[in-house]
């Protein structure tokens, strides 16, 4: 069987690479079984597994508020949202598995602290207003990014993104509805909403990653259609939608430099990248707690896994005996 994952040292590499890039140029999807550069595969595994981990860890800040939701309706909405995020993690692990990496290896990397996930989930959820704000801003930022990724060249990743985007729209809207409701509410509710926006706005802007000039992988990711828009482009789309909506609601955007340029784009002030790299490097406010919570959940689920295995083994025996 010919190697599916091409290395630059292969005799036919440049020929195959040209065919591969032509396929992407024609808008074809690359599917498992097709030839691809090893570097394409490596970049995809890195991105998809980080993305999967983000969905899984992303359940924690919101999950913490399920039993404190103020009404039954809000509780049902939050449970459904957190459940969706679990599903998103599963869709994405599946997509990564099609590239020949095992789910167990990915989970192991997460639990051991080796794997990265979106730094946004290392911030704490201090009040109920954070739940609405996460839906509106964090899921809002995620949608912009995921919509871009849905147009990507790798079939399984693109399909997972399309499925996820359809569900994210619900996450975004329920959050926006909640924040706008608070913005119209009592003085105390308005304060809560504003406080949450103050704390989540900048981390949400950081979700798109470093500026294009500081984004070393971008060139190859764009050429191979893994990313179809740059970090700064996606960030601009996010701000252009959300900044005016926050202002319309009578709330403030915590950026004194924010202004509209003559093209109508909302221009943000300097982003604190030191903070970003601190959190990515494991020193965010909640990094430790998040990993501990994941490990605890994994360990406490051990008896369920063992019971299922025992049952499956019994079934197997029964089938063989028949």
């Amino acid at each position: 069987m010919p190697a599916k994952y091409g290395l630059p040292s292969d005799p036919d590499y440049s020929l195959r690479l040209a065919e591969f890039e032509a396929r992407i140029g024609r808008g074809e999807k690359i599917e498992p079984g097709d030839w691809m550069p090893e570097e394409y595969r490596r970049q995809l595994i890195r991105m998809i597994s980080q993305h999967a981990h983000s969905e899984v860890v992303g359940m924690l800040p919101e999950g913490a508020w399920i039993n404190r939701a103020p009404t039954l309706k809000r509780k049902m909405i939050l449970i459904a949202k957190v459940q969706d995020e679990a599903g998103h993690g599963q869709y994405l692990y599946h997509a990564a598995e099609t590239l020949g990496v095992s789910r167990e290896a990915m989970l192991e990397a997460l639990l051991s602290g080796k794997a990265k996930y979106s730094s946004i989930f290392n911030y704490p959820t201090l009040t109920w207003a954070d739940i609405g704000t996460i839906g509106w801003l964090v899921d809002g930022a995620a949608i912009k990014n995921q919509t871009m990724l849905a147009a990507g060249s790798y079939g399984p990743y693109s399909r997972a993104m399309v499925r996820i985007c359809a569900e994210e729209a619900f996450h975004h809207k329920q959050g926006k509805e909640m924040v706008l409701f608070y913005a119209r509410g009592s003085e105390k509710q308005r304060q809560m909403a504003q406080d949450a926006i103050n704390r989540w706005w900048w981390p949400a802007l950081m979700m798109m990653g470093p500026h294009d000039a500081d984004s070393p992988n971008s060139e190859v990711l764009t050429r191979w259609g893994i990313k179809t828009k740059s970090n700064d482009t996606v960030r601009q789309e996010f701000i252009n939608e959300h900044a005016p909506e926050i202002l319309d609601a009578g709330l403030q955007v915590p950026d004194p430099d924010l202004h509209q340029d003559d093209k109508g784009n909302w221009v943000h002030g300097p982003i604190n990248w030191d903070e970003f790299w601190q959190v990515v490097g494991g020193n965010g406010p909640m990094n430790k707690e998040r990993l501990e919570a994941r490990r605890k959940a994994h360990d406490e689920g051990a008896w369920v896994r063992s019971a299922l295995e025992t049952y499956a083994a019994k079934l197997q025996k029964a089938t063989v005996a028949v």
Partner: protein, 192 residues
């Protein structure tokens, strides 16, 4: 050390008029566990009436590129007369025909009976060759585990989501100012 449960590919049918479509995979210890997990992961919203699962290792798959490069060897012809006990096997055929943006992969197109997976592919290419296939999946029919088609099961597995309208974005459609108000002169939307 690989201790993980086997991987099962999942096919979901949205409505009676639609085929089962490959939506992704789950890990599970046995077929029932796979079906339940598949239901929890891929049918949290209303659009489902039936699900099939099959172990990933029981799927024979070919992409267009693989077939062009490496045509499968001429299927070994079954020469033994049927009277000597040879029974052709039944295979389910799944096919992908479009590069368009989608949340599903291959669609179920029908069954063939054949002497081997390669033979099944050959027959599939003849029988379902009306449109160019970008990928084929061939699955021995007896390896598929299916959700119970009885109305009670369909009701209890798939219907509960239909009245959870708050899981749909339309439920929130009327709030706030519409996004389009804030859209700038961007290039045409490619979401549809």
């Amino acid at each position: 050390m690989d201790t993980q449960w086997p991987r099962w590919e999942v096919f979901k049918q949205d409505t009676p008029a639609k085929p089962h479509q490959a939506v992704g995979s789950v890990h599970a210890a046995d077929p029932q566990h796979a079906l339940l997990t598949a239901r929890n992961i891929f049918a949290r919203r209303p659009q489902a009436i039936s699900m099939w699962v099959v172990r990933a290792e029981d799927i024979f798959s070919w992409t267009k590129e693989e077939l062009a490069e490496n045509p499968p060897p001429e299927a070994a012809k079954q020469t033994e007369p049927l009277a000597y006990g040879f029974q052709p096997l039944t295979f389910c055929v799944f096919r992908k025909t479009s590069h368009k943006r989608s949340m599903t992969f291959v669609d179920y197109v029908g069954e063939v009976s054949a002497s081997s997976p390669e033979d099944a592919l050959k027959q599939a290419q003849q029988q379902f060759g009306d449109v160019e296939a970008l990928a084929w999946w061939i699955v021995p029919t007896d390896r598929l585990a299916k959700s119970d088609p009885g109305s009670e099961t369909v009701e209890s597995w798939f219907a509960p989501a239909t009245d959870k309208t708050y899981k749909q974005q339309q439920y929130y459609a009327t709030i706030g100012s519409h996004v389009s108000k804030h859209k700038l002169g961007r290039e045409t939307d490619d979401e549809e």
